[in-house]
């Protein structure tokens, strides 16, 4: 297994090269460059002269074909330099690093919450399949799925933050955060996070619950479950210990696939709650053609994606001994 993992990591580096190469090619060929916008922010009466443009192009390596630019970028990355933002001219790792903890707090909490809610709900739905209660719960979940979270966010804000003033309206920390006691800081962070986490989580409940139920429904029909039933095992024990363990394969796949979402954030919710996370940064970087920032983020996402895939593949072998990698 260890050799398998080592091999995968090695291959992963090549995959990363391929991905970054493709993405670099794509972003350099999207219409517009960072200078397009810059031309529009200068004074009304003038645009940058050709001379100025050439200097800027040289500085951002836009004068070179994209595949040459890629090698320069790669060379810098090898030396641990992700480059510099174009609008926010700090180093890319600082720009991303500033936002990463906030995003992790939002997405991590939401992801954990999703699984904590959906696994029991999925099991419960399986046990109560086709009953009225189960139909009611799943219908409610579908309604939540169809309710866009920007709608929920605005109404939750209106009621809870503005009318009742129970929770803060926006931001990730309040005024005077630095002066608070550690307990105060904790509550401050939690109170700011409740609404966005709620909005981020509820839409995905239907999908995961349904997913777990679908897989469980298949498993509980297997022969060994009948055997367990015949042996007189309690229904809960059958569901949890026998059936659930055997429907873990798809769940592991999904966990692997959702791992990169940890870093992705959510553009809409980050905007509504002025959260300053990765999602909005990425969207903004793309629209402003901030090549170095885009590449830094894509690199980070890709590493996370590959790790997620690797984790899933490794876990398969643990979850189901029949699966081997030779």
């Amino acid at each position: 297994m260890l050799t398998y993992i080592a091999r995968r990591i090695l291959i992963g580096i090549f995959t990363l090269l391929a991905v970054t190469f493709i993405v670099y090619g794509l972003i350099r060929n999207m219409p517009g460059t960072p200078l397009t916008i810059m031309q529009e922010t200068v004074r009304m009466d003038a645009m940058m002269s050709q001379d100025q443009m050439d200097k800027l192009e040289a500085q951002y390596r836009l004068d070179k074909p994209w595949y040459v630019g890629y090698w320069f970028w790669l060379g810098d990355v090898m030396q641990g330099d992700l480059g510099r933002g174009i609008n926010d001219r700090r180093k890319v790792n600082i720009i991303i690093g500033e936002r990463l903890p906030k995003t992790l707090m939002l997405t991590g909490t939401s992801l954990i919450l999703t699984y904590f809610l959906c696994i029991p709900m999925g099991l419960w739905s399986t046990a109560n399949a086709l009953s009225f209660r189960e139909r009611l719960v799943s219908t409610i979940l579908y309604i939540l799925y169809a309710l866009p979270n920007f709608v929920a966010a605005v109404y939750l804000n209106l009621i809870i933050a503005v009318r009742l003033e129970w929770l803060p309206l926006y931001g990730s920390t309040g005024e005077g955060y630095a002066e608070m006691s550690s307990l105060g800081k904790m509550w401050d962070i939690v109170s700011h996070a409740i609404l966005p986490v709620l909005c981020l989580t509820y839409t995905s409940l239907a999908y995961y619950t349904r997913f777990i139920k679908a897989n469980m429904m298949e498993t509980i029909q297997q022969d060994y479950i009948r055997t367990a039933k015949a042996k007189g095992a309690s229904p809960t024990s059958i569901l949890v210990t026998h059936a659930f363990r055997n429907s873990l394969i798809p769940l592991v796949t999904i966990v692997g696939l959702t791992l990169p979402a940890l870093l992705a954030g959510s553009v809409i919710l980050e905007t509504i709650y002025q959260w300053n996370g990765i999602g909005y940064l990425f969207y903004q970087a793309i629209t402003m053609r901030e090549y170095p920032v885009i590449m830094g983020l894509v690199l980070m996402f890709s590493v996370m994606t590959l790790l997620g895939q690797l984790l899933a593949d490794v876990l398969y072998a643990f979850v189901d001994p029949r699966i081997t990698y030779s």
């Binding site: 995959t15 394969i249 696939l257 894509v298 890709s302 398969y316």
Partner: protein, 370 residues
């Protein structure tokens, strides 16, 4: 139990073994017995009917009319603009006002009108129909007898938009998930079944697609596409949305190919294709059907997000997503812009999932009798 009873009632000729029904025929037989699944199917069929007959349900152009001695079907213009006969547009300059113009230009004309005289693109003005006032707009556009589901901020009837938007909703969902499903299942099945270097290559391919952000692809596509259309949206969603399905299929195949019956099938000389798509796939459907049935609905959201980026349906093509987007801009003042498309999406998601559940249970021999 009932299946057995049915079989028992059939006249059995002991000398000849009964020819078993095909896999899909059996599945259909079991599917039909599930009322909820059938309900889902009926609903989708209903949507399809709405989509096909949308110009007859809501519109301001006559379904059929006689004008200056000829019979015309102007409502076909809702499907494709040039099908609206030029005599009404560049000829006699009706400017969309059919009723007064028909009467004024040809007293002998007659017309059969759609059920609801509302346009999905433009606000119906005061002088379009006799006795029908112009549409209200903005916060005044609450649902009323004239505008069943209200109007949007431009005064365009929401009901008409939703009816006509059904075409795009169905198309985007089915075609994009059709593409995604086909690619995902094929890639995942090959990777999982063959393993080895096939798995190696395909898995890296999946990884690369997973890593390239869709937003970048979409904007890059703008560079190539001169007139981005709904088909490009479908292609983007389809060509990028299959990775999850592929991973799930692959995982199931990795597991199932080790089960004895696959070995048995192999021993009996079944080809790889047969084993993969007949023997294994039907047992691997459970986890795949969920992302597909959700994906069909999610495509509606994606379409709305993409049209914001300038790719997708243009103004003259009404979509559910557009109403929702309008709602987003008027979120506190016009609830009906969220409620009705939300309701449409909810029922669609529900229907697709009921169908998904039904298919899963009808194709799995172990769950059929549950």
């Amino acid at each position: 139990m009932s299946a057995a009873a049915e079989l028992a009632e059939q006249p059995v000729k002991p000398t000849k073994p009964a020819v078993s029904q095909g896999f899909w025929a059996t599945a259909w037989r079991y599917y039909r017995r599930r009322p909820m699944a059938m309900l889902g199917l009926y609903f989708v069929a209903f949507l399809a009917i709405v989509a096909i007959f949308s110009p007859a349900i809501a519109g301001t152009k006559p379904i059929v009319c006689s004008y200056k001695g000829n019979i015309y079907f102007p409502c076909m213009g809702y499907f494709y603009a040039p099908w609206e006969n030029a005599i009404f547009t560049t000829g006699d300059h009706f400017e969309k006002r059919y009723e007064p113009n028909l009467k004024a230009n040809d007293p002998d004309s007659w017309a059969i009108w759609p059920l609801v005289r509302q346009d999905p693109i433009e606000r119906v003005r005061e002088n379009w129909f006799e006795g029908q006032p112009g549409n209200p707009d903005k916060a005044d556009g609450k649902p009323s007898w004239q505008n069943l589901m209200g109007t949007d901020s431009n005064g365009v009837d929401v009901f008409a938009q939703l009816v006509h938007g059904t075409r795009v909703a169905l198309l985007v969902g089915f075609v994009s998930m059709g593409i995604a499903g086909a690619i995902g299942i094929a890639v995942g099945a090959c990777a999982g079944y063959f393993g080895g270097w096939v798995d190696f290559v395909l898995s890296r391919f999946i990884e690369i697609i997973l890593c390239v952000p869709t937003l970048i692809l979409v904007i890059a596509l703008l560079a190539i596409a001169e007139h981005p259309s709904i088909w490009q949206v479908v292609a983007v969603i389809g060509l990028t949305g299959w990775t999850g399905i592929a991973r799930l299929t692959r995982a199931e195949f990795l597991k199932i190919k080790q089960i004895e019956y696959v070995a048995a099938a192999k021993a009996m000389g079944a080809g790889s294709m047969r084993i993969m798509f007949i023997h294994i796939l039907r047992n691997a459907l459970a986890p795949i059907l969920v992302p597909i049935s959700f994906g069909i609905a999610a495509a509606i959201f994606t379409e709305s997000a993409l049209s914001f980026l300038g790719i997708g349906a243009d103004t003259l093509t009404p979509t559910w997503g557009r109403v929702l987007h309008e709602g987003q801009n008027n979120i506190r003042s016009m609830w009906w812009l969220i409620f009705f498309p939300g309701l449409a999406i909810f029922t669609t998601v529900l229907a697709y999932n009921l169908i998904g559940e039904g298919i899963q249970e009808a194709t799995d021999p172990r769950t059929r009798d549950a």
